[in-house]
Amino acid sequence: MEDKPGQLIRVLEPISKLGGNIIGIIHQRGKKTPLNRVPVEITLSIDSKKVQELMEKLNQFLVRSFDEIRLLESANLILIGHIIHTDLSDTVTKIDSSDAECVELIVSMPKLSGKSTAMLTIAAKNDDALEKAIDRLKDICRTKNIEVIEPIYEEFV
């Protein structure tokens, strides 16, 4: 945005009017562009249906890029068993839902016919969705004879 008074409020107002919640603002005065504009990075949460409308309201500014981070909670779990030969894609598909999904899988297969070991990362919209996804994973693994090692969830305070 241009480096003059009242610019930031013009961005924040439409966000606020659409019910968005500002999580953070980084105003990078030291990184002025050749057109003398100041890069501003805004992190916010907003109803996903309103993103398009917000982008239109902000079109008077140059929105250089935006990333959508939908999944805020994640958990790592270890699986041990015949992970590949019990239809891995089926396992993963059954965990995925509209608000949780497998985002990473590291597999180690030391012996061709032996058991594999994997670390699976599940990411979800919130704690509740994450818990449900983990429960689904445990149910599927029970039927496929795959052992699951869950993390300790609480941090030590």
Partner: protein, 322 residues
């Protein structure tokens, strides 16, 4: 005060050793100490005897002077406190009978026998009715002060959860697998050689020991539960690759016993640096409170002297109000 000792293996002998070596100090705290009788699984000594001589005889001949059974000693002889040091049996075994006889007679009990997990409610109710004390600090984590802390200090707190490493053998095996990248079988063989694992290791590695201790902890904080209520998984299926992959994300694996809504003993991923990521035969118990966050109690979770020290402390706690 007259003390009856039942169970005269490593723990019983260490208890008597420690009691005699601290006798002068202990008598200042709790009054005159006498040993009423000592009994093991097949022999006993009572009446006119020298405790030191009994120790020596047990160590050299593997038995005590007389043939009188422990149960008969308990029924016939006079004592104020039963110190129950016999080996834990699943389902309680004779040790529970011994304790019931003692409590019924109006004697206090100090025990290291985890058999109390199988009759916790019955034993506690009877002790309350008979107005005697049943002390069992030594059953969980040897000398780590946790039972008395839960029963007294934390009794006014809201405890959300207890989680811990309650079996040193499993913790040794898992931390060696983590350090050396060895298989479970390789480390188990090493642990057997070092005397850390039994010839039949199932009591430890299947999580049975941890589950029994968890039941004792849970009942201590008012979660009425039995051994059968514990969801339990052992450690023998864990691959060395699991440690490698876990480490990439900053985790290790430990056998964790947890009591909250449910009682669970199973391997869990634990972040490096977490108090439950300790290595070796150490035991750790975390108490999660509503009012003041989490507390960590750690130390050597087994050993004859450690166990005996906890029992001496329990004994003094019965008679010492300070």
């Amino acid at each position: 005060m007259k003390i009856a000792i039942v169970g005269f293996g490593n723990v019983g002998q260490s208890f008597l050793d420690m009691l005699l070596s601290k006798k002068e100090f202990l008598e200042k705290r709790i009054g005159k100490i006498e040993i009423s009788f000592i009994a093991d699984s097949k022999s006993s000594v009572s009446g006119d005897f020298d405790p030191l001589e009994a120790l020596r005889m047990k160590r050299t001949k593997g038995r005590l002077r007389d043939d009188k059974k422990a149960k008969n000693c308990l029924k016939e002889l006079e004592f104020d406190v039963l110190v129950e040091c016999s080996t834990t049996k699943i389902n309680g075994g004779e040790a529970v009978e011994h304790m019931l006889i003692a409590i019924e007679k109006g004697a206090n009990v100090v025990t290291s026998n985890k058999g109390i997990a199988f009759y916790f409610d019955e034993l506690m109710k009877l002790a309350e009715r008979k107005n005697v004390k049943l002390m069992y600090e030594a059953t969980v984590g040897a000398a780590i002060p946790i039972i008395r802390v839960l029963r007294t200090y934390f009794s006014t707190f809201t405890i959300k959860k207890i989680a811990g490493i309650l079996n040193g053998t499993c913790n040794y095996i898992l931390s060696r697998m983590e350090e050396e990248g060895l298989s479970y079988e390789q480390v188990l063989a090493e642990a057997k050689e070092l005397g850390i694992a039994e010839t039949d290791p199932s009591y430890d590695v299947d999580g049975i020991d941890a589950a029994i201790k968890l039941v004792i902890l849970a009942n201590t904080i008012g979660i009425r539960s039995k051994f059968e209520d514990v969801k339990r998984k052992g450690i023998s299926w864990i691959t060395p690759e699991a440690f490698k992959i876990a480490a990439e994300k900053g985790y290790t694996i430990r056998l964790i016993a947890e009591a909250s809504k449910e009682l669970i003993v199973e391997p869990r991923l634990v972040k490096f640096g977490h108090p439950l990521a300790l290595k070796g035969t150490i035991n750790t118990i975390l108490v999660y409170t509503e009012e003041a966050g989490t507390f960590s109690f750690a130390g050597r979770g087994a050993g004859k002297y450690e166990t005996a020290a906890a029992m001496i402390s329990d004994l003094v706690a019965i008679y010492d109000d300070r």
